[in-house]
């Protein structure tokens, strides 16, 4: 009964001192007296504490005293009610297994990871409830280029959970004059939108590389949103979530910024590079490429028509020339934009 007696509602834990995790800690430190930023590497923790800077992922930004760096998960969970795991989807479950023993039913877990688990295609919140005892879980998503947020440029984000208290707690920690935090109850939709938008970022990168113009970009994004919307409805999400920050908001930010990895992957695909070459060149797995094959699988299962995704799949996985794929898309029979019922 006394387990949570030291818990202060205001303390917040961030798991993962990457680029996004560090920025989240920085944002949280504006409202919260104590932010625990976890990294598994004790020497990096020591370094960040000494320099008050994350040289590797956020160089040049001073991190305030309110941030305590730690490599002790039990410390984070015994001191915080609200904890945000922010690690790549491929490492998400492994970490969850590590902190699971420290979780209690009153912990609020809000992850900041876009994408699906490799192989299982599970959403991050599913991993959270499968591995930990926490039921009050949520996701933070939206058009959030970390660097801009670190520079306190105005922006908005969305926190999604079935539980109002998760939304309210996250809003209380992250809302500021530079950041508006919207709430959303459609967790499934927000997580799927966050993963699927990468498909469009790849398409946008491709069109950019081929210099096919703004009309082409507008066409692919609009029709791409239409097919993604069919898929997320079939996954049990509200299609209107795609119109929000986690959907269109994120699509605008990612598909117009050359900073995005998926955008750059698209550019390289258009140059005729293979998937392996791209992943080698960018020195990381490209989430969007994985998402394309997941979307293809689900579309087949749910019998959905996803022409743009299919074209991208042929380019990325079957070495189909980009120009052929585009021609085939353009030669599809004329149809209606919407069918109203």
């Amino acid at each position: 009964m006394n387990l949570s007696k030291n818990t202060s509602a205001e303390s917040v834990g961030i798991l993962g001192a990457g680029n996004w995790g560090t920025v989240l800690a920085l944002l949280a430190s504006k409202q919260s007296p104590k932010v625990y930023l976890y990294d598994r590497d004790a020497s990096r923790v020591e370094e960040m504490g000494r320099l008050r800077e994350n040289r590797r992922y956020l160089p040049g930004v001073t991190l305030p005293e309110a941030i305590e760096f730690t490599s002790d998960l039990s410390q984070v969970f015994s001191n915080c009610n609200l904890v945000l795991p922010v690690v790549p989807s491929s490492a998400f479950r492994t970490l969850a297994k590590q902190y699971a023993p420290f979780t209690r039913g009153d912990h609020l877990l809000v992850h900041g990871t876009k994408g699906l688990e490799p192989i299982t295609h599970k959403r991050m919140s599913e991993i959270l409830t499968e591995e930990t005892c926490c039921l009050r879980v949520g996701a933070l998503s939206g058009p959030n280029l970390a660097l801009e947020l670190a520079q306190a440029q105005p922006g908005a984000t969305v926190v999604s959970s079935r539980f109002d208290e998760v939304i309210e707690a996250t809003q209380a920690i992250f809302s500021s004059t530079a950041l508006r935090v919207y709430g959303n109850h459609d967790l499934v939709g927000v997580e799927w939108a966050g993963a699927l938008k990468n498909i469009l970022a790849i398409a946008a990168g491709m069109l950019n590389e081929l210099k096919l113009g703004q009309n082409a970009l507008a066409m692919v994004l609009t029709r791409g949103i239409a097919e993604i919307s069919r898929l997320i409805s079939a996954m049990g999400a509200h299609s209107s979530t795609l119109l929000g920050l986690a959907g269109i908001g994120d699509i605008i930010a990612t598909c117009t910024s050359p900073l995005s990895r998926n955008f750059r992957a698209g550019q390289m695909l258009a140059q005729g590079k293979t998937r392996q070459e791209i992943e080698q060149a960018l020195a990381m797995t490209i989430e969007g490429l994985n998402t394309i094959s997941v979307a293809m699988e689900l579309a087949a299962q749910k019998r959905l028509d996803m022409p743009i995704t299919t074209a991208l799949w042929h380019i990325a996985f079957n070495q189909k020339p980009v120009i052929d794929a585009i021609r085939e898309l353009m030669e599809r029979p004329s149809t209606f934009e919407f069918t109203f019922q």
Partner: protein, 547 residues
């Protein structure tokens, strides 16, 4: 007989509930008054009036309706006399309505009737039969019925016994037949548990036999025709209150009986939500044994008395709006008697499986009543109802918990389901015909003549063998349970058991095996019934082509 002494002590929660009946009704009224939204008062009262008048226009129960007519006429008069400024009048009316509903809902518990009933039950449902049909009863009596031989109790029986001492238990069974409640009542007695409170459909109370027992065995009345918010809230408040008083309760979370014959794939959350409410309230009041446990329970029948009516109701559009079946096979005494007669004569068995208990948040519970996390470790149950470090009610949070609990309950039903040979064969046979007549939709399949359904045993075996293998794989993975006869890899044995048991009662048999040895043929006299029994296997994706 130790049980009786436990029951006859004046401290038994059900006895106390009965003694305090009027105090309980007062408390329900009081709690509802605290929740009262004064801005919506007029709307709530008018809504209740509107829906009740609508219900009474249809009229189902002359005696009860007459009392209600009188009550609502009076409410109407007072509403018309009341203007907006007379808040107190509205408040008074509001409380009167609550009290009226609570008085209808609240049950009785009569230890003497309980004793009488339970003493009679071990001799089968003979007592019930006696009231229904003397002739059948005499036949039965001659054959020495033994319920224990007919009804097999499985699962976590030890756990329920233990949990009933450590907290309040909600038994949450699947619902296929009106016989369910009678069987469960007997099963609870058989495993040495005290009687449970039971929210029974009001229509059952009009049956003189069922009604007499239910009225006196702690049943409270649920009228699913009353759809207005005030009634539903009153019902929930009553349920919460009796859980808090430590009365173990029986809910059928699926609402009514399964129309399609399938296991519940979603559950109603209204009453289920009272589990978390009662738990929080117990914690806030520092009560000893505050925990509330939900025990899923799956009943498996080779044949369901009301199958024909239920599946018809499922298949007609009209059925969707007509929620309550007023008359079906179970309200015809003669049919019930015949059914029971056949039931006891046939060798077929009913399986009742008590699943592992859940806490109000859908976590599994260990034998000591402690909640278990996904890693198998014990977790602190009360931390789920803490917000900002404090134990509290939080309706939005608790509604979401209840949805999660409902989802887990559905998953558990599928895992705790004891599949019978007849379920499997009905599934395989229907899927076989569906594949054979791929061009026809389900409704056209129902029109197949018996000749068109006839198939050689050999051909059917070839189709169904791989399905049986897949079923065994599911069993090994723990996705479902199998009755012993179905664990056999000898297809012939499985088929024979199915054909001996499936729909024994029905005049048109869903499965017929005929022909000489080596030339056996299968046929179906009633495709709808076959479909009904087939549906029990829905959701396992056994046949790859199943649409």
């Amino acid at each position: 007989m130790q049980l009786f002494s436990r029951l006859s002590t004046p401290n038994h929660p059900l006895a106390l509930l009965s003694r305090d009946r009027s105090a309980v009704i007062d408390e329900v009224t009081h709690r509802m008054s605290l929740k009262m939204d004064t801005d919506k008062l007029e709307q709530l009262v008018s809504d209740s009036l509107f829906w009740e008048r609508k219900r009474l226009e249809k009229g189902h129960d002359p005696i009860r309706d007459a009392v209600d007519q009188f009550f609502w006429k009076d409410v109407a008069n007072q509403v018309f006399k009341t203007n907006e400024n007379q808040r107190e009048n509205l408040q008074f009316l509001y409380k009167q309505i609550i009290r009226h509903h609570a008085d209808e809902i609240a049950g009785n518990f009569n230890p003497r009737v309980y004793k009488l009933a339970t003493a009679a039950v071990p001799r089968g449902l003979g007592w019930l039969l006696q009231a229904l049909s003397w002739k059948s009863f005499q036949n039965l009596f001659a054959e020495k019925i033994d319920l224990r031989r007919k009804v097999h109790l499985h699962g976590q029986i030890e756990q329920i016994r233990a949990l009933s001492q450590k907290g309040t238990v909600i038994l949450a069974p699947t619902h296929f037949s009106n016989l369910d409640s009678v069987l469960i009542g007997w099963a609870l007695y058989e495993i040495g548990l005290p009687p449970f409170c039971y929210g029974a459909g009001l229509n059952l109370f009009s049956n003189p036999v069922f009604g007499y027992f239910m009225n006196n065995l702690g049943a409270y009345k649920v009228d699913r025709r009353k759809k207005h918010a005030l009634y539903k809230e009153t019902l929930k408040t009553y349920s919460t209150l009796i859980l808090e008083r430590g009365c173990h309760s029986l809910f059928f979370p699926g609402g009514g009986r399964s129309r399609s014959g399938a296991l519940e794939n979603k559950v109603k959350l209204g009453l289920l939500g009272t589990a978390v409410d009662a738990y929080v309230e117990n914690l806030l009041k520092n009560k000893p044994n505050p925990k509330v446990y939900i025990v899923p329970c799956v009943i498996s029948y080779h044949f369901v008395l009301e199958a024909a009516t239920l599946i018809d109701d499922f298949l007609t559009e009209q059925g969707k709006s007509r929620y309550i079946i007023e008359d079906d096979e179970s309200s015809e005494p003669k049919i019930v008697a015949q059914f029971l007669y056949k039931f006891f004569r046939a060798s077929s068995t009913i399986y009742l499986n008590f699943g592992t208990a859940l806490d109000p948040f859908g976590n599994l519970v260990d034998p000591e009543g402690e909640s278990i996390g996904p890693q198998g470790q014990r977790i602190e149950t009360l931390s789920f109802v803490k917000s900002r470090g404090e134990i509290c009610h939080n309706p939005q949070r608790d509604d979401e918990y209840t949805k999660l609990l409902g989802e887990r309950l559905v998953t558990r039903y599928h895992r705790e389901n004891i599949v019978l040979t007849s379920h499997f064969i009905a599934y395989a046979y229907f899927e076989y015909l569906r594949r054979k007549y791929a061009a026809k939709d389900v409704f056209r399949l129902f029109k197949l003549s018996e000749d068109e359904t006839t198939t050689s045993l050999q051909e059917f075996t070839q189709y169904a063998m791989p399905l049986l293998d897949r079923l065994h794989q599911l069993y090994e993975r723990g996705a479902l349970l199998l009755e012993p006869a179905l664990r056999s890899h000898e297809f012939k044995n499985v088929l024979e058991s199915a054909q001996r048991n499936m729909g024994v009662y029905h005049t048109a048999r869903p499965l017929k095996l005929s022909g000489e040895v080596g030339q056996e043929k299968l046929s179906c006299e009633d495709m709808k019934l076959l479909f009904y029994y087939h549906n029990r296997m829905e959701g396992y994706e056994l046949a790859p082509h199943a649409r």
